[in-house]
Amino acid sequence: MSEVSRAEYCVIACAEAWRGNGEVLASPMGLIPSIGARLARLTFSPDLLLTDGEAMLIRPDGTPEGWLPYRQHLALVSGGRRHVMMGASQIDRFGNQNISCIGDWKRPARQLLGVRGAPVNTLNNPTSYWVPRHSRRVFVEKVDMVCGVGYDRAAGARYHRIPCVVSDLGVFDFTTPDHSMRLASLHPGVTVEQVREATGFDLAVPYEVPPTREPTAEELRLIREVIDPAGSRAREVGS
């Protein structure tokens, strides 16, 4: 078995987000979270539901097992039986996320997607984030447009939870007294300094930071031979 790539550590870190979630819909946005969700479903979280990105619920081999058009998908969000991993063009230390635009909303310097479902997601089901290129442009002191709601703005939101943020450098969570972002694990080969350097706010860093766990031989086989044999994960995160 050849050396584990950074992209493969990212897959493992994303898969771990869905550990112990039970019979809920895993909604990954982006390639590596999608591989991670399928890996979790094939191994330690067999009860997860997956979609084909359109209106069907499918087994990992693509066999349809249910119907989930957008109207039902949005209703399922309110029911809370879902854990989504969204992208983030910007994210701040309390987990406020922006995918709408950069600059002044009234006339943005750069128009992006729009708020999409981030406001409803963050108030109703667990919402994690995936950032394929960790940098000060993404991890910012203050986001330009709050789409996904962070902990400092979630008072009274009974179903608000951000389990984790996974980047190409490590895994982050909000298990601090004030719910500010904390470094939870480093992908092997990455240093704390590197993460601090690439983060635009004060990050909570525990005295000892564990490495992101190693994949098992079976997990590596599934990633490399079953889920992503074309190796497209390397296009999202290089080595």
Binding site: E54, Y70, S78, V115, R116, R153
Partner: protein, 278 residues
Amino acid sequence: MSDKTMTAEQVVSRLQSGMTLGIGGWGSRRKPMALVRALLRSGIDDLTVISYGGPDVGMLAAAGRIRKLVAPFVTLDSIPLEPHYRAAREGGALELMEIDEAMFMWGLHAAANRLPFLPVRAGIGSDVMRVNPALRTVTSPYDDGETFVAMPALRMDAALVHVGRADRLGNGQYLGPDPYFDDLFCEAADAAYLSCERIVDTAELTKEAAPQTLLVKRHTVTGVVEAPNGAHFTSCAPDYGRDEAFQKQYASTPWPEFAARFLAGDEQAYQSAVGEAT
């Protein structure tokens, strides 16, 4: 029973500048593009457009027809950012009511149910509240006391939607995996115009397809247009997928050049120009 068939031009002749117009589909999927193209050929502008936005919004924005947009996103799906919409926003060319996908859906439900609003657990805490100062909240009258956004009804003067089959009376059938919100658009509008790949006899609709494919009911429809390939270049499953090559061309060609090449003539000219281009 009245035959509601008409041409795309007849649909557009019933629309006016300044109207609020709902457009069905989702992103770059089953958009009523033949009707949008007819709209582009008209002089109608100053529109308020309500849409899960795709190239419908991109084209109308590029042509300067939109005064105000109500949308949670604008995307071409396989090309995440709609280039013409981006240019319009970055140039400050349109007013925007940016709301969440679920808020949008409940706004359609409210309109279809003749309710002034519906409570939605979405928006609070986000900047959707900052950029839409007119949005109000409502507190549960029961013991939980939770506060919600009171999502206002998204009523519209007219709706444009595209489905796979329809009869001449306005019964519309989708044959793909997702109905999107096209029935709600029709119910939320004062007048709804339904284009379809093929007009068939009523009995034909359920000959092979399941009854739940009958999405749009005729009492909500004002006009029916037969528009083969009428969602092009967006997808209309299972009749055709998205024309990715053409969408790429649309996204990478300067608008005046694209419009001159593909939108100067009628729908037939468009379809033959597409044939020559691909």
